[in-house]
């Protein structure tokens, strides 16, 4: 479970004046939930995600991550794949295990299992530049899952992909979520992606960055083509879109 209490972030602007990147946010994310944060650029959605990840320190407020007995509770998928260009797909996925001191045989077994899960069989030995954009992002997801963190944070992971690949990646992500029961916090600027994937959607707005509304998206699981024909799916999208204006 992730508890965010009055967390805010203030940057120094170009002339040294304080700029509110994020006005105080309160949010509780139960274990196993798929939560999306949607908003325009500059609304602080990435900042909030990076605060949860520990990549930024909040200016104020309190963040609690309840994940007992786990050394590395957080997996992070960046906008870009951020693969190491000199490592093969397999070695990239195994990277956190290698550096974390997991025995080679065990790490290899885990990496092979994940390669299967994200559908990269046959590309174990390929270098990142030999993979397509979608395949690279799949490898990045597998790497984030390699050490089995209970929480997966994703920062517009499919933003750079074409629409068809993106749709397919969304379905694959839902499958992974069902299979692994991870808590997922997913940042996007697409209302469709947010409505399709999530249990709960946080809508944010910019200048200053703040939470505009929070919605429970109670569309039935598993989601698929039928979801996209559901009038309520379109209602959710329309609501989010209105709130983003």
């Amino acid at each position: 479970m992730i508890t965010i209490e009055a967390v805010s972030k203030r940057f120094a602007g170009p002339k040294g004046e304080p700029v509110d990147a994020l006005t105080p946010v309160d949010l509780t994310i139960p274990a196993g939930q798929f939560l999306s944060i949607v908003g325009p650029s500059g609304c602080g959605k990435s900042t909030l995600l990076r605060i949860i990840a520990g990549l930024e320190t909040p200016s104020d407020g309190k963040l609690t991550i309840a994940a007992t007995g786990v050394a590395r509770p957080i997996g992070f998928v960046f906008q870009e794949p951020v693969l190491l260009p000199w490592l093969s797909t397999l070695a990239n996925i195994r990277f956190p295990l290698d550096t974390g001191g997991v025995p080679r045989a065990e790490a290899d077994a885990t990496a092979h299992r994940l390669i299967k899960m994200v559908g990269l069989q046959g590309f174990e030995d390929a270098l990142p530049h030999q993979l397509s954009g979608g395949m690279r992002q799949r490898a990045a997801i597998a790497r984030a899952l390699s050490y089995d963190p209970p929480i997966l944070l994703m920062d517009e992971p499919f933003g750079a992909l074409d629409l068809l690949t993106r749709d397919r990646m969304n379905d694959e992500l839902l499958q992974i979520w069902r299979a692994t029961k991870k808590t997922i916090v997913f940042v996007t600027h697409s209302v469709e992606e947010a409505a399709y994937l999530s249990d709960r959607v946080v809508v944010m707005s910019a200048r200053p960055g703040r939470v505009r509304a929070i919605h429970d998206v109670d569309l039935p699981h598993p989601r698929g083509e039928a979801t996209k024909l559901d009038p309520r799916f379109h209602q959710f999208m329309a609501t989010f879109r209105r709130e983003l204006k």
Binding site: P96, T99, Y147
Partner: protein, 249 residues
């Protein structure tokens, strides 16, 4: 047509032209000897004047100076990337040494270090240092922020980050710097030898000039060119081995 064949054809064409010019225009041999005369002279020097020893002397100085300059340059670049204050403090001095004409430094080094290999190695190290340092500084400084984030998320130690992420990323600009340094290193060694030495290819050049021995001078120039070229190709080969993701991309 592949690259080696093209290179050979191009060289053969050049030699033919040279031959043709010497014959066609009846250029006197003391100005421009024919390629055959140059080869004859090189064979003579090889048998009677320890050409091989002169060549290895120069090669050894180039290699020694290059390795020393490269190591110092890479270390300094890495340190500067970590400590910008140190960089600001030392950059003016380094720039001053770097912008001074190498030919002007050579006599001073010979005064200090004598006629042996010392001043040659130091001069080669000086010209290698700067490109190596610049390459390392670039490589270590401009690593995408996302990779630092990754290191933090995955929980790398400082040492792991240095060896697993920073160093591999710094290799391409370092090798690019060393590639630039190869040609300068050959020049520096020869310049230092011409200023004062009792052996080496630069010494042979000066001796040849003093005795109006143009076949020997041209022969030594050819050897030097081949040395520089071979050295350059060696670094390129190392680059392709070290950075497969770059050369195939």
């Amino acid at each position: 047509m592949n690259a080696p064949i093209r290179a050979l054809l191009s060289l053969a064409g050049f030699v033919l032209l040279w031959w043709g010019a010497v014959w066609g225009f009846s250029i006197p041999a003391f100005l421009l000897p024919s390629p055959g005369a140059v080869i004859d002279r090189l064979v003579f020097l090889a048998i009677n004047a320890e050409l091989w020893r002169h060549t290895t002397t120069t090669l050894g100085q180039i290699l020694g100076g290059f390795v020393i300059g490269a190591l110092l340059g890479i270390g300094t670049g890495a340190a500067f990337a970590r400590l910008p204050r140190l960089e600001r403090l030392f950059t003016p001095v380094i720039l001053l040494v770097q912008t001074a004409p190498k030919i002007a430094i050579a006599p001073l080094l010979i005064l200090w270090l004598g006629l042996g290999p010392g001043p040659k190695i130091v001069l080669v190290a000086i010209v290698t240092f700067f490109p190596a340092m610049t390459g390392a500084l670039t490589g270590f400084r401009y690593i995408a922020k996302a990779y630092r984030d990754l290191a933090q998320i995955v929980g790398l130690t400082t040492w792991q980050r240095l060896t697993r992420i920073d160093l591999p990323f710094a290799v391409p600009p370092i090798v690019a710097g060393l590639r630039v340094a190869t040609t300068q290193a050959v020049t520096a060694a020869v310049v230092a030898e011409m200023m004062g030495a009792n052996r080496g290819l630069g010494y042979l050049l000066t001796a040849g000039q003093e005795s109006s021995d143009s076949p020997a001078v041209i022969g030594v120039i050819v050897i030097l060119s081949l040395t520089g070229w071979g050295f350059y190709e060696l670094v390129r080969f190392a680059e392709a081995k070290l950075i497969p993701w770059r050369s195939k991309a």
